[in-house]
């Protein structure tokens, strides 16, 4: 048994990746290999320390370790403290982030080999890992927001990593802007809670909420603000549009940021403020409904996607919706447990997709096929992860999904039906991907680009060892981590993170044979139908597509949400208030909106700008009008 972890060591978890970032920037930049090693070493250190933290928290029954908060600055009565909060929830997140990050870095050495921006890549990755660790370690919501924005910035930098690709740049921008839209809500929530309580301390806010010191209305607005931030970051409907496009980034980035860590930050945030949501029931119901909707809509989209990474992206959105659904139904433990299992198998799936891409130079599943024999290890691990995601007994995904399902069963029958439908769809689209990618005949892939990082083989073969080993390592938790909560270990840890008053109110989890068997049957049915369509080809997907043409179009155009966002919201709303041509979106949507409408809007939009005529007396007259208005109001408001 290790002694309890000292505060300095916890700080070291955060500082190690920052150290590697500085080392790369200041020293090893010209030597890419070294940059990779430095990053891996730093994150490995963070991983080991995280294990130590886990040990200490297990010893403390999941309650927060007693670290003092350090005063950082004081303005009048505004005090900002910086401190660490290490409890059951934190260590689970720590473990997820450091493990996945470590394996992804190792994998990246193979995937990014020969890329011109190798050092830059590892510098960004270090910064990201540091920010993500900061996000889960701090005890103040304000500092959390700082790291929250930083992970967003890193995501922006990494999605746009290949900035010579216009698509990547657009995707990066879209991701940044859409997530920041949610952050407006989060920032306002922070300002609101401070004006009402005068504190940023998370534990204190939880405590105040639980004992009823804050009015329910304020809490509801606060919770909705928090959730707005989470919706952006965790790609929930209707702000999910950025995540599929974010797949333009390097695949290890997708695995780390857009599957296992950053996108679950929203789930983490809602879980962190779970006591607040328990009090603000309206907000909690909103979380459940949004989560359920997202889970279903994204799963449907995954069924029609032809790009393997996009299938995985929609699958991620859908699973994140699942976690939100659980949180909204009070299934705090179920949500985080699913977060834990999902992180491993989804990272594995992404890395597998990267490995496939490494061999074929394409992400288009229609150009793949027959890779099972050429890439046996990739296939095996991908298969295991898919089974796990589909929720097949006894893999990890089965256990966590089962908890969510039983939670839904007891709380909300309607949402339970939705969740069950998603189980079927998940199994279907994952095995559709497997059959298209690994079975049948090889469809030729794509010729490597000149600046591609792929090897220049004519025939695909297994990826180098540095890429395959992380796959194998990740397969272990994807298989086994589900057992972590069979005896309630994870639950015990997580319960310790809640305020005392709530710990005992947590719903008891009972293994429900009916649900377990039912969901297993649905999963197998999904796999079976995928086999009928894409494996044995007994049924023709083409014929179904023709019969259901309207539905298919709806899905193919992603429910027209992109058009809605860019066409109506941006063009309509911003233009109408006079904002005018955002050249950013011009390139994206000009072809979609009929030219006539665009021109009409543009003309009407110039509004405010037209006033700036260049004629100085118009300026003076405007000012004088403003003056008269102010004067008039002044006299109206102050009857003499």
């Amino acid at each position: 048994m290790l002694p309890e972890i000292p505060e300095g060591v916890v700080w070291a978890i955060l500082l190690l990746p920052i150290g590697s970032l500085l080392t790369i920037v200041l020293w090893t930049r010209p030597n890419p290999r070294l940059s990779g090693y430095v990053t891996i070493a730093a994150i490995a250190g963070a991983f080991l320390f995280s294990l130590w933290a886990l040990d200490s928290v297990i010893a403390s029954d999941g309650t927060a370790l007693a670290f003092r908060s350090h005063e950082w600055l004081t303005v009048g009565d505004l005090t900002v403290n910086v401190g660490l909060r290490v409890d059951g929830l934190t260590v689970i997140m720590l473990l997820v982030v450091t493990t996945v990050s470590l394996l992804v870095q190792i994998y990246s050495q193979g995937y990014m080999a020969g890329d011109g921006g190798y050092s830059r890549y590892f510098a960004y990755m270090s910064l990201f890992t540091a920010s993500m660790l900061g996000l889960i370690l701090v005890d103040s919501i304000l500092v959390l927001f700082v790291f929250w924005e930083l992970v967003g910035l890193c995501s922006y930098l990494l999605i746009g990593f290949w900035f010579h690709k216009p698509a990547a740049v657009r995707a990066a921008m879209k991701a940044f802007l859409v997530t920041r839209l949610g952050d407006v809500g989060l920032l306002l929530a922070i300002i609101l809670i401070w004006t009402k309580t005068g504190t940023f301390d998370i534990a204190e806010i939880q405590e105040l909420a639980v004992v009823g010191a804050i009015s329910v209305n304020v809490l509801t607005v606060f919770a909705l603000g928090i959730f707005a931030g989470a919706v952006g970051k965790s790609a929930q409907f209707p702000l999910h549009v950025w995540l599929p496009d974010a797949m333009e980034g390097p695949t290890p980035v997708s695995a780390l940021i857009h599957a296992a860590t950053m996108v679950v930050a929203g789930v983490y945030l809602v879980a962190r403020f779970f006591p607040v949501f328990e009090v603000a029931e309206d907000a909690q119901l909103t979380v459940a409904v949004v989560g359920g909707t997202t889970a279903l809509l994204a799963a449907l989209l995954a069924v029609v996607a032809t790009d393997i990474k996009r299938v995985l992206a929609y699958s991620t959105i859908s699973q994140l919706g699942y976690m939100m659904l659980a949180l909204g139904l009070g299934g705090y433990v179920a949500a985080i447990f699913h977060l834990l299992t999902h992180a491993f198998f989804k990272a594995l799936l992404f890395l597998g997709a990267g490995s496939v891409n490494h061999a074929t130079n394409t992400f288009d599943m229609r150009r793949m096929g027959g890779l099972r024999k050429m890439m046996p290890l990739t296939h095996a691990t991908f298969f295991v992860a898919s089974l796990s995601l589909a929720g097949v007994f006894p893999l990890a995904g089965f256990w966590s999904k089962d908890e969510i399902l039983s939670q839904a069963w007891t709380e909300q029958p309607l949402l339970f039906v939705v969740a069950m439908a998603v189980v079927f769809l998940t199994a279907f689209y994952m095995f559709r991907a497997i059959f298209l990618t690994f079975e049948g005949e090889y469809q030729g892939g794509e010729a490597p680009e000149e600046d591609s990082h792929g090897a220049d083989q004519s025939r695909p073969h297994e990826s180098p060892r540095v890429m395959v080993v992380p796959l194998l390592v990740l397969a272990v938790p994807a298989l086994l981590i589900g057992f972590a909560n069979v005896s309630g270990g994870v639950e015990h840890l997580l319960a310790g993170a809640l305020p005392l008053e709530m710990r005992h109110a947590l719903p008891e989890f009972h293994f429900n044979w009916g649900i377990a068997l039912g969901s297993l049957a649905l999963a197998l049915a999904g796999i079976g139908s995928a086999w009928l369509f894409y494996g044995a080809r007994v049924l023709s997907a083409e014929r179904v597509r023709l019969t259901l043409r309207p539905l298919h179009t709806l899905l193919e155009r992603k429910y027209f949400l992109d058009d809605l966002f860019e066409g109506v919201l941006v063009r309509g709303l911003l233009y109408r208030v006079g904002a005018g041509a955002l050249s950013l979106f011009d390139s994206l949507v000009v072809d979609r909106v009929p030219n006539e409408i665009a021109r009409g809007l543009r003309l009407s939009s110039v509004g405010l700008r037209m006033l700036q005529t260049g004629q100085v007396q118009v300026y003076g007259a405007m000012a004088f009008a403003g003056l008269l208005l102010a004067g008039g109001l002044a006299f109206l408001l102050n009857p003499l």
Partner: protein
């Protein structure tokens, strides 16, 4: 008030109204005339309206709280400074107008509108 008889027949309001009218005329000229020099004259007119107002206040306001018999001359001092600043302003402005004229052969300020938007 120990004001002379003649002045007493003119009330504060009267002077303020004249000042206000003068200011309004200046404002109109400033916003309506197209010749830059005329605009400058409008501004001078506005400043003189201000001077009139200041003098009026200085003459009529009740200063008794500063002590019996004291009558600070702040208003008058202010006027002197405003006149001085106005002179400097005219100088700078005329110099600028000349510079613009050299470039464009016009001082019609409606036509000086390259910068806009």
């Amino acid at each position: 008030m120990d004001a002379p008889v003649l002045a007493a027949s003119v009330a504060l309001e009267d002077v303020l109204i004249v000042g206000g009218a003068l200011f309004a005329i200046g404002l109109y000229i400033t916003l309506a005339k197209r010749n830059a020099v005329a605009v400058l004259m409008g501004i001078e007119l506005m400043l003189n309206a201000v001077n009139l107002t200041l003098i009026a206040f200085s003459r009529f306001v009740d200063f008794s709280r500063f002590g019996e018999g004291t009558r600070p001359i702040d208003g008058h001092v202010f006027v002197i400074f405003v006149i001085t600043v106005a002179a400097a302003e005219a100088a700078v402005m005329l110099a600028l107008v000349v510079a613009v004229y050299r470039h464009r052969q016009t001082i019609d300020i409606d036509r000086i509108n390259v910068l806009r938007g």
